[in-house]
């Protein structure tokens, strides 16, 4: 079948691919500027303490040290990404009076090299008064718990309520009700490039920052808030970025401290967080206590669901408020619950703040929900896939009062997965296949950041040689958005991919865009680029129509650099010639198009949703509890596939990350201290542990998306933990409700089961 597209759907090299395979790609980590200094940050060793005194005199005396700053050198403002709600802006970054977790910054040093800066940290004397601390959210909401932030009742940072239908009445009508508890663990992003920034204040008072970020615009705006500057005096550029996964769109300690130091010295200051700081003093996936109640009729119709969630917020709000909101919404996904109620509480604790991480609350809700669904299926004697089919979302469905689902391929995905499981036939002993369904949003509609700008915006400029330059505030953090946006631009203009250059993530030259989070760039930034390209195209077409003198009833189009009459492709003119003429005809002004996208009338969550079903096969060693991930097969639909190589990469990468979430990744703590802040101790799936992966792409078309495309990045992290849990149960009959599902937990559950069997 020939595609109606020329560029979209092709297997292409990422436009920055050659730089990345030759080592010439420059990351913030690699930036070296003339006269540049190196910074290091001193952090609180106490989970909760008053700062009584900071003596920096000895540190300042060390040869090579150029500046030492503390909270006193700041304006004392507090940052928060929920800018519409001042009480949720609660992070000073450089603490002035009190530290709230082990890792909270208290001072920063700039010196001629990293070793000198580090030496200087040891010379800073901080006198603390340790305060009682609280680590578990269930403890923190007790009356007499220590207060993490003064005046916050029961340490409740924020709560969320979502409800539709008549839940209590519906439960009364159910034939069977299950109530289950789950615990979702923490997870670290482990970007290969740690947080880093080079901040450079000029003597003109303007700030230039190179940094590894998911949203240059957010960083620019938050700098403006914290430094009391006009945002146009701040230029933030994301270079090649060594991963983000949700960890890099708030103003972080590297960015802020580098700027404060540079402001004092008018010299560039570079701060690269150590791997230990990355684990202990950035942000992490939100740990959650989940209480789920699910009611069904005998025939498997799900009538009602109730979710109560308490999340471990850590010391600050960060993006955790959004995770609280989204976990509540996605607890209903991807099923048609006529009655649903959610109450979520985010609780402050004296631990590293929890925030956004790929999936953004949905991996938690999906693990709990999909585990419980399998339990319900067993109770009712219904096949788990059948139960999902019976209740699964369908196209053009409205989540009452919340969201409109347009395209939805969940049922096709279920069919495909069922087919592949059947094909596998009888499994070896102690193997099991578990299934989980999922869905996710294509960018959020909410605007707690309070941006006055469009959510996405792009400018396309056509140069005299016909090549197109795309300017977008979107950030390529490795997910390949620059390539996807270039493909969209090329397709819209009918030119080759190599005819498109992308300038992204630079607030100095690109229109604001909210950046790479919430799986928003393909749909939102993509729509903005498509519209900008379309505007250029219409200008070109004016000239082409004039030149060709075609009857005005005919439509013109461009394909492969050839402007022609639709239906009569042989009648046309060269795109490149027309561009030359057009620019000449416009008095030498390059052709420019602008595009933007802000969702309107699309409900409260997102303009579009992707869906999928995943089947994970495990093989369990029943004597030790150790199991291997054998295979993970995913039926996935994300609308029109723009960059198939990119989607495969997202999917397989998500399995590494989400498989780790299900199997081994965790951040155990002792009195607020993370016990495994190194890659040696934080267990990650490596190549020998990686399962076989198969992808079954399901064809759908999303009317809201550019060329019918929607999200394909984060949603893929949602199902794996649940699928693993269900697979372990299928294999050996033990159910673990407490992530991660480690061999030790499986072993203990097997022993427990054996004991019960003997007791009978």
């Amino acid at each position: 079948m020939t595609s109606k597209f020329s560029v979209i759907g092709q297997r292409v090299h990422n436009i920055d691919g050659t730089e990345k395979v030759t080592g010439s790609a420059k990351y913030t980590f690699d930036v070296v500027l003339p006269n540049m200094l190196y910074g290091k940050i001193l952090r609180s060793p106490h989970p909760h303490a008053k700062i009584l005194k900071i003596d920096t005199r000895q540190a300042k005396k060390l040869i090579g040290v150029k500046a030492v700053v503390t909270g006193k050198d700041t304006l004392g403002r507090k940052q928060g990404i929920w800018r519409r709600f001042p009480e949720l802006c609660d992070e000073e970054i450089l603490c002035r009076a009190k530290t709230r977790y082990i890792g909270d910054p208290v001072a920063a040093v700039a010196a001629i090299d990293e070793d000198t800066a580090e030496e200087a940290l040891d010379l800073i004397e901080v006198e603390y008064e340790p305060l009682p601390a609280v680590f578990d959210p269930l403890e923190a909401i007790k009356e007499d718990a220590p207060q993490v932030h003064d005046g916050v009742e029961l340490n409740i940072n924020i709560n969320r309520h979502i409800e539709w239908g008549d839940v209590d009445e519906a439960f009364r009508k159910c034939d069977h009700i299950r109530e289950d508890q789950f615990k979702c663990s923490s997870q670290a992003h482990v970007c290969m490039e740690t947080h880093d920034a080079v901040a450079s204040f000029g003597h003109n008072g303007k700030l230039t920052v190179w940094t590894s970020t998911q949203s240059s615009y957010y960083i620019q705006r938050l700098y403006a808030d914290m430094l009391d500057m006009r945002e146009s005096d701040i230029r933030v550029m994301n270079r090649h970025t060594g991963g983000g996964f949700g960890s890099k769109f708030e103003l972080d300690s590297a960015q802020f401290c580098a700027a404060i130091l540079s402001q004092k010295l008018c010299q560039p200051v570079k701060i690269v967080l150590t791997r230990e700081e990355e684990f202990t003093a950035t942000k992490r996936r939100t740990p959650m206590y989940y209480f789920l109640k699910l009611g069904a009729k005998k025939d498997g119709t799900l009538l009602a669901k109730e979710a109560r969630v308490i999340t471990e917020g850590g010391a600050y709000t960060a993006m955790g408020a959004t995770a609280l909101y989204l976990t509540g919404f996605f607890s209903s996904f991807p099923y048609k619950f006529p009655n649903y109620r959610y109450d979520g509480y985010r609780v402050y604790t004296n631990t590293e703040p929890s925030s956004a991480m790929r999936g953004f609350g949905a991996p938690q809700s999906t693990f709990c929900g999909e585990s419980q669904l399998d339990m319900m299926a067993e109770d009712l004697g219904i096949d788990p896939i059948e139960l999902r089919r019976k209740n699964g979302m369908t196209p053009d469905y409205e989540v009452p009062g919340q969201a409109f689902i347009q395209s939805c391929g969940l049922h096709q995905c279920l069919d495909k997965i069922e087919e592949t499981i059947e094909k596998r036939g009888k499994l070896p002993p102690n193997h099991g296949i578990g299934v989980a369904s999922y869905g996710f949003m294509s960018g959020g509609i909410f605007n707690w950041f309070n941006t006055p700008y469009a959510f996405s915006a792009a400018v396309v400029r056509i140069n005299i040689d016909g090549k197109a330059d795309v300017f977008t505030g979107a950030c390529d953090i490795g997910q390949g958005s620059n390539t996807t946006l270039a493909m969209i631009c090329a397709e819209e203009l009918g030119i080759k991919l190599e005819d498109v250059r992308v300038f992204s993530g630079d607030t100095g030259i690109c229109p604001p865009d909210l950046g790479a989070w919430g799986s928003r760039q393909t749909l939102m930034s993509g729509n903005a680029v498509k519209r900008a390209a379309a505007e250029c195209k219409s200008q070109i077409m004016e000239f082409a129509a004039a030149k060709m003198g075609v009857n005005i009833v005919y439509d013109l189009d461009i394909k492969d650099g050839w402007i022609h009459i639709v239906n009569r492709p042989e009648r046309g003119v060269s795109y490149y010639d027309i561009v030359k003429g057009a620019i000449r005809g416009k008095d030498g002004v390059a052709i420019m198009g602008r595009g933007h996208y802000t969702p309107h009338r699309k409900g409260m969550i997102s303009p579009a949703y992707s869906f999928g079903v995943q089947a994970a096969e495990v093989a369990v060693d029943v004597e030790t509890g150790r199991y291997k991930l054998v295979n993970v097969t995913t039926a996935h639909e994300s609308g029109t596939v723009i960059n198939p190589v990119g989607i495969e990469g997202q999917l397989e990468g998500a399995i590494m990350m989400a498989g780790g979430y299900g199997y081994c990744e965790d951040q155990p703590m002792d009195e607020g201290k993370i016990l495994n802040p190194s890659i040696a101790d934080y267990k990650l799936i490596r190549s020998l542990d990686m399962p076989e992966t198969e992808i079954l792409e399901i064809d759908t078309y999303e009317p809201e998306g550019p060329f019918g495309a929607k999200e394909a990045g984060e949603g893929l992290t949602n199902p794996t933990a649940g699928a693993i849990g269900n697979a372990v149960y299928k294999a050996v009959g033990v159910r673990i409700n407490d992530l991660p599902i480690t061999p030790e937990k499986v072993f203990k559950a097997l022993k427990e089961k054996e004991k019960k069997k003997k007791a009978k």
């Binding site: 010439s24 980590f29 490795g478 999917l651 190194s678 020998l688």
Partner: protein, 159 residues
């Protein structure tokens, strides 16, 4: 007290004076200026700093530079011959075996060393060959496919 270090990097001889505590990765990045080699951890666990030392894959963050005195080093910058990418580099491009690209230099060096030593590795051997390198983006399988394609002879050394 600084000491003399002589080594060849990508065929080019260098004579440097360094503090004994300098790690090989620091010499390559900060003294020689080859920033393709990355650092992703502080305890020899991530593999982003992998280079070839006398033909062997090693972690350049876990070797004192002086220990490499008189050795030949190849970094990611040394893989292409002029403007011709190596077979593995081309296979990585075709198979999307990189995303953020931060682990890619290390991955390429591990894979290159593997094939230099064992031109026909099995899939299991390929997995083992890159097991010392963490990639948080790709899930490894696209890297394994790229190496497999080179093993199958789908990418010839450029003339």
């Amino acid at each position: 007290m600084k000491k003399e270090l002589k080594l060849k990097v990508n065929g080019q001889p260098y004579e440097l004076y360094i503090k004994p505590k300098t790690l090989l990765v620091q010499v390559l990045r900060d003294h020689v200026g080859l920033t393709g080699t990355k650092r992703g951890c502080n305890d020899s666990s991530c593999g982003a700093c992998t280079i070839m030392l006398n033909g062997m894959a090693v972690k350049s963050c876990s070797i004192l530079a002086l220990q490499a005195n008189g050795c030949e080093v190849v970094t990611v910058e040394g893989l292409a011959k002029g403007n011709k990418l190596s077979p593995l580099q081309r296979a990585f491009l075709d198979h999307g075996s990189y995303q953020c690209g931060f682990c890619t230099p290390g991955m390429l060096m591990s894979s290159t060393a593997l094939l230099a030593e064992n031109p026909k590795p099995t899939k299991e051997e390929i997995k083992e060959g890159i097991d010392g390198n963490i990639c948080r983006c790709t899930g490894y399988n696209s890297i394994i496919r790229a190496v497999t394609a080179v093993v199958k002879g789908e990418y010839k050394e450029a003339k």
